[in-house]
């Protein structure tokens, strides 16, 4: 089975999305899911979509050109509030 790919987007792609990518990876691993995670700025999303199954973004800025790829907008992985519900949501998109 091909590993699913999650693209994590934020404003600068240096701090916020780094933390979110690490959290998602760890929480999914704890539940037995292994995924590929890439991170980028919100503005770079259109050029980073190849092979992407799900986008997680921390900003409210509208993302362009995402087409049929599902997008989850959340800051739960930073605040800790609602994190478990969001992981379940992510799993619902990435499981076969």
């Amino acid at each position: 089975m091909r590993k699913k790919k999650i693209l994590v987007a934020c404003g600068t792609a240096i701090a916020t999305s780094t933390v979110v990518a690490r959290k998602i990876s760890e929480l999914l691993a704890a539940k037995g899911y292994s995924v590929n995670i890439d991170q980028c700025r919100s503005a770079e999303v259109p050029g980073k979509l190849h092979g992407v199954d799900l986008i997680v973004t921390t900003t409210q800025a509208p993302l362009n050109g995402t087409g049929a790829i599902p997008v989850i907008q959340t800051i739960s992985f930073l605040t800790g509030v609602g994190m478990e519900a969001d992981i379940e949501k992510i799993i619902s998109f990435i499981k076969e």
Partner: protein, 166 residues
């Protein structure tokens, strides 16, 4: 790069006077500039970034802002932490139409994202603990704030080694 290279006693500001978030951010950015951590361009960049992507996080209890901007404006990585004299209004990262009252600001000057991902995660984990933020808000002075922060980060770091470098 170790946590003690970024989180230092002289990078804790207590009782910082500011009437607006812009004043708080500019004062903090200028302190990083005066200490050589960032370039002159960091100051307008951090203000511009805050306008485009608000940085306040509505944790379970207290709120905290985590302003940061692009690596090109930074010379050396550092975390500048401030407790303001009074809370100021920030906009929420997740909902920019929502105003949050913020008294604690953790400004990240990040030069290289590799190797610091783990430290950022540990810091954010510490900020997610309401007891830690409560203790910081009630601390007597900057030294106590530093001790609380360093202790919270240290407690998170025991045992678990970083497995990835992002």
């Amino acid at each position: 790069m170790d946590i003690d290279d970024m989180l230092k006693p002289d990078l804790i500001l207590d009782n910082l006077e500011a009437d607006t978030r812009e004043q708080a951010l500019e004062s903090m950015a200028r302190i990083l500039l005066s200490k050589g951590y960032v370039k002159e361009s960091f100051v307008p960049a951090i203000l511009d970034r805050e306008r485009k992507y608000p940085s306040a996080l509505p944790m379970e209890g207290h709120k905290i802002a985590v302003p940061h901007t692009d690596a090109e404006h930074v010379n050396r990585s550092a975390i500048l932490f401030a407790r303001l004299a009074r809370p100021v209004e920030f906009l929420s990262m997740g909902a920019p139409d929502e105003t949050l009252s913020v008294q604690l600001i953790s400004m990240f000057a990040l030069h290289e994202k590799k190797q610091i991902g783990y430290m950022l995660e540990v810091l954010i984990n510490a900020y997610q603990d309401n007891d830690t933020l409560e203790a910081i808000l009630n601390a007597q002075n900057a030294e106590e704030i530093y001790a609380l922060l360093r202790g919270a980060v240290g407690a998170q770091m025991t045992g678990e080694k970083p497995e990835r470098d992002w």
